[in-house]
Symmetry: C2
Subunit: 298 residues, 2 copies
Amino acid sequence: MLSVRPGTRVVRWIGDDAAVVRADGVAVVSTDVMVDGTHFRLGQAMPEDAGWRALAGALSDLAAMGAEAGEAYLSVVLAPGVDALALHRGAEALAAECGVTIAGGDLTRGPALTLAVTVVGWAAAADAVVGRDGACPGDLVGVSGPLGGSAAGLAVLEGRADGPPSLALSYLRPRPRLAAGRALAAAGAHAMLDLSDGLASDARRLAEAGGVTLRLDAAALPLADGVPAVAGALGTDPTELAATGGEDYELCACVPQAARAAAEAAGLRWIGEVAAGPADVVWRNAPPGSAAWRGYEY
Amino acid sequence: MLSVRPGTRVVRWIGDDAAVVRADGVAVVSTDVMVDGTHFRLGQAMPEDAGWRALAGALSDLAAMGAEAGEAYLSVVLAPGVDALALHRGAEALAAECGVTIAGGDLTRGPALTLAVTVVGWAAAADAVVGRDGACPGDLVGVSGPLGGSAAGLAVLEGRADGPPSLALSYLRPRPRLAAGRALAAAGAHAMLDLSDGLASDARRLAEAGGVTLRLDAAALPLADGVPAVAGALGTDPTELAATGGEDYELCACVPQAARAAAEAAGLRWIGEVAAGPADVVWRNAPPGSAAWRGYEY
């Protein structure tokens, strides 16, 4: 479970008790575990997809901090009949695309395919990374790309709707927004996270960490191609998929007005603004009747 | 799955996408996964033991590099009926003893209790850590403590032999030799690893990584209290348990003659010496008839 060749930071890896990696000022570390049957289903997802997706979920956390991705450590519990090499190929494909070294791991057997991924990113100093807690009244709120694709893709994979292959790939092969995250950190973003559970609940995390109100416009949410058609087939509103579907792994950032142009250059699309507390999210143009969208119609 | 309070390196942890940790010159990283039924059995081991043991196995890899232990990231797949808090108490007890911060983790559900632990240690520079590959002809070979306790403890737990509670604890609650590892690195040890599979096979790893012959004396192996009695009950030689039992997590180091006194002060007990190649291990005084002991009687 190792990369073909190590990155320039990696001093020791194969054949030792631990990897040894040249550090920058601060390490940024996240760990994620995904289990067959809970986070994906083999059959819908191939082992390659599972490897890619587990690594993507962890790297997305580094993107959300604005860190440079460095190394990944991949522990796998292999269930009977699962192709370990295919799984590794999927993870390695994404690692290569992101300039990440898979610098260590562990492999054992068990009853369900389980992937535990720890990723280490690097930044020059603690104040160069972006937490969830810095949103200020007056900030603009933006997302780094179209939403709803992963939820719509899962509906296509499960046969609940028709849709283009690009939608299934949104679910199976998400791309962590590492370049956008670094650019937004450099631009001076005040607060940032990645959309893993869905904007409706993730925006609430930014509001609570910052003690501010996020005022968001559902009509401004960028929709992934094919989401309106899948939403129609499912009998729901497209913005419902975009705001509550989750696993799009786009970034949501709160950015000072002065950084508007730099944030737009990093790909951010505006969906609202930050107001003084209380810690809350209020929506304009949200579809009525959804329990997950609280405080709408401001 | 977090420590009560963070260590002084830890800048961000709870409530963000990733932990942020002040770095030293190099990061030393190891990851281990343990699954109920493969690496331990709930029933023999309590959830507290499983948490302790999984963290101990990973920290032992940092000890083997001579790194300062820093942070641990603990991902848990919880099977029905397993007490997550007890598991965390076990890991936290060892973390507190070692000055380690459990700085992040993930928790999900699945069919078998699984613990994936990634540990990050720190050292000033790459040449301050000790790999497996540096053994030189003329080096002394030593181990950091008594052997065989874990294998004997498992035999006691499984009802195959009688023995004192200290033996069961050797198996359930191993202590990573972090202080000894740092002292041996500072003393100038040439090569080092931790005894997870057992000296008979782990010594071979040092021989192969260094391209040297390790000449070891089975009669010199320090035995844990109670090992001779358990070996007698099992009808085997005590040194057989000491050399092939595994999971003692003591260190085995190759040390230049000039560092003899410093290594002894770090607790090392001599079991042999390094000779010029070929890559091999030859034993003196080994019990006859064991397939795991090759090249004995020099």
